[in-house]
Assembly symmetry: C2
Homo-oligomer: 321 residues x 2
Amino acid sequence: MEAKELKAAVLDAKKFISEKSKEISQAVGDGLAINALSGGVDSSAVTMLGHKALGGRLKTYFINNGLMRHNEPQQIVELFGKLGVRVEILDAQDKFFRALKGITDPEEKREAVTQTFYKDVFGKLVRESQAKYLLQGTILTDVDETVAGIKRQHNVFAQLGIDPQKAFGYQIIEPLVQLRKDGVRKIAEALGLPQSVYQRIPFPGPALAARVIGEVTPEKIKLVRQATQIAEELLSTSGAFQYMAILHQDRVTGMREGKREFGLQIEIRCWDSIDARNATPTRLSFDILDAMAKRITDEVPGVVSVTYNITSKPPSTMEVV
Amino acid sequence: MEAKELKAAVLDAKKFISEKSKEISQAVGDGLAINALSGGVDSSAVTMLGHKALGGRLKTYFINNGLMRHNEPQQIVELFGKLGVRVEILDAQDKFFRALKGITDPEEKREAVTQTFYKDVFGKLVRESQAKYLLQGTILTDVDETVAGIKRQHNVFAQLGIDPQKAFGYQIIEPLVQLRKDGVRKIAEALGLPQSVYQRIPFPGPALAARVIGEVTPEKIKLVRQATQIAEELLSTSGAFQYMAILHQDRVTGMREGKREFGLQIEIRCWDSIDARNATPTRLSFDILDAMAKRITDEVPGVVSVTYNITSKPPSTMEVV
C-alpha cells in the first residue's frame, strides 16, 4: 500500500489526530501496544497519539543504547512524566556496543543497530509484554530515502517487502507515514508537546553511531557526545533545521605545546531545510565557527581539527553515515 | 651552528643578496653547484641567488615527481626561461609513486618523498653532474617545526644532526635559513622575480602527497589535483596566505540522481598568516564557499562532500599530512 502524502500546509492537525487515534484504537482493540520513545519529534508525537488512543494499554520504553546524547535518557523521562506519560528506561548499552564491534561500513552499522533494537532488545520486551502492536514514528522521507537506496532507515520494513510479523513477531502501526517533518511538527504541537520537542532538531535512529565514521566504540561515542553537546549549545539559537558533530576516522597532523600531535578531526554540519529532502549549509558567522573550533579542540581530548560542511544536499546527505 | 633570525621588517634586501652571493661564490669556488627548483618562492629565490653568484656553474633542475599541480612543470620552466635561467625537467613520476605505495603514515610519507628525492633521483643527478654543492631553500620556520618534532620538512638535515656529506654525498648550502616567509618574499622581489612568484602561496615539499590522507596513488593525486585547481581559481583573489584542497580517506554517504553514493570528501583550508607560525582560517564569504563545494562535487569524480577548516594553528597545522 502506497502512503499518500499529506502536505503540512493543508494539514488539519485536529482532524488528523482524531482520525489517527481512532485508527489506532480500532487496530489494537483490547490488546496491548508498545512503543519506543527516542525523544525526537516523530517518536514523541507517536507516543502522545498512542496514549491519547490507548491510555494505559500503550507501554512506552526508552531504550538506552549507549548512543544517546549527554543526559538524554533522564531528560526525556522527566519531560514525559510532566505530561502524564510514564516512560521506562531499559539499559541495553552493552548489547549495542557488542553488535557494533568491528563494523565500519555505514549500512552494516545501521543494520547492526536495527537488528539489535528489534530482534534482541525491543523484540524481547514485546514478547514479555504480550503486546502484539508496535507504534512507530516512520515518516515519508524515511520511506523515500530507503526505497531509493540512499539510506537504510530503521523503520521501513513493509516498504522493503519485509513482513515484521514474520521477521520480528509483531505488527507495526505507522500513523505518521504520510507526513514529512514539517507536518509532524504541527501534529506534535497540536498534541500539547512543548516547543523543545516539536521544534527539536532531528536526530537519527542509530543516534551517535551515525556520527562516527568507522568502527563505533564506547570511547569514540564519548568523544562525539562531548562535541555534540558543544555544537548544540552554540547552535541552539541558530534557527537551523539540524546540526551535528561528526567524529572522523582519518587522523590529521596538529600541534600542542609546540609538539606534533597526530590527532582527531570533528566535522560540524548545520543545515537549513524545510523538509530534509533538500538542504543547504547554514551561513553561520565566523565568530560562531571560531568559538566552536576553539571549544571543541580545547575540551574534547585528542581533537586538533574542526571543519564545517559547505556542501548542499544533494549531493551530500544530511547525516554522514 | 644556530641560524640567527633576520626579521623581514629590518631586512636590507640588496645587502642580503650581495652578501649571500659572495658567500655562495666563495663556498663553491671553481666547482659546480646544483639545485632543484620547485617553483615556490623559497626555491625560486635560491635559484636566482645561485645564478647571480655562479652563472653557468649552477645547474637547475625541476624534478617532476608526479605530485605537482596542473601544468606546473611547464609553467615554471617557461617563467624562468624568460628570466634567462635554463631549467631542465627530469621525469621521475614512477619512482615517487613506487616509493609511496602502501604508505599511510604522514611522517613515513614525507620520508618516502625525501628519500626518493635525495637518494634516488636527485642524488643520482648530483653524482652524474660532478657537483659537490647543493643549494637549498630551507627557511627558519622549517627548522623550528622539524626540531620541535611538529613536522619533518625535507631539508633540515644539519639541524637534526644528519651529515648530508656522509648520508647523501654532497654539501648543502642554505642561504635563506635565517629568514621567514615574509623575508624571503622581499628577497625574491629584489632579485627581480615576478609578483606571481614572490607573492605565490606556499606549497609543501611533498607537494600533493601532503594533500592526500592515507595511501598516495596516481588516481588520488589526479583527484586532489583537480580539486586544488578549482580551489586556487576561486581563492587566488582572496588575499589569503595559503589555501589548499585535501582528499580525505574516510568515505561519506552522499546521493546522486536519487541514489545513495558512498563517496569522497575534500577539505578546503584557507589561511590568514604573516609567517606561518600562527594562522587563522580566512573568513571567506559563503558565496565563495558554496561555489567551491558546487564546482568540486560537480567536476571531481566521486566527491560528494566538501568541508572548510575552521580551526586555527595551533592546535591545527597548516598542512594535514
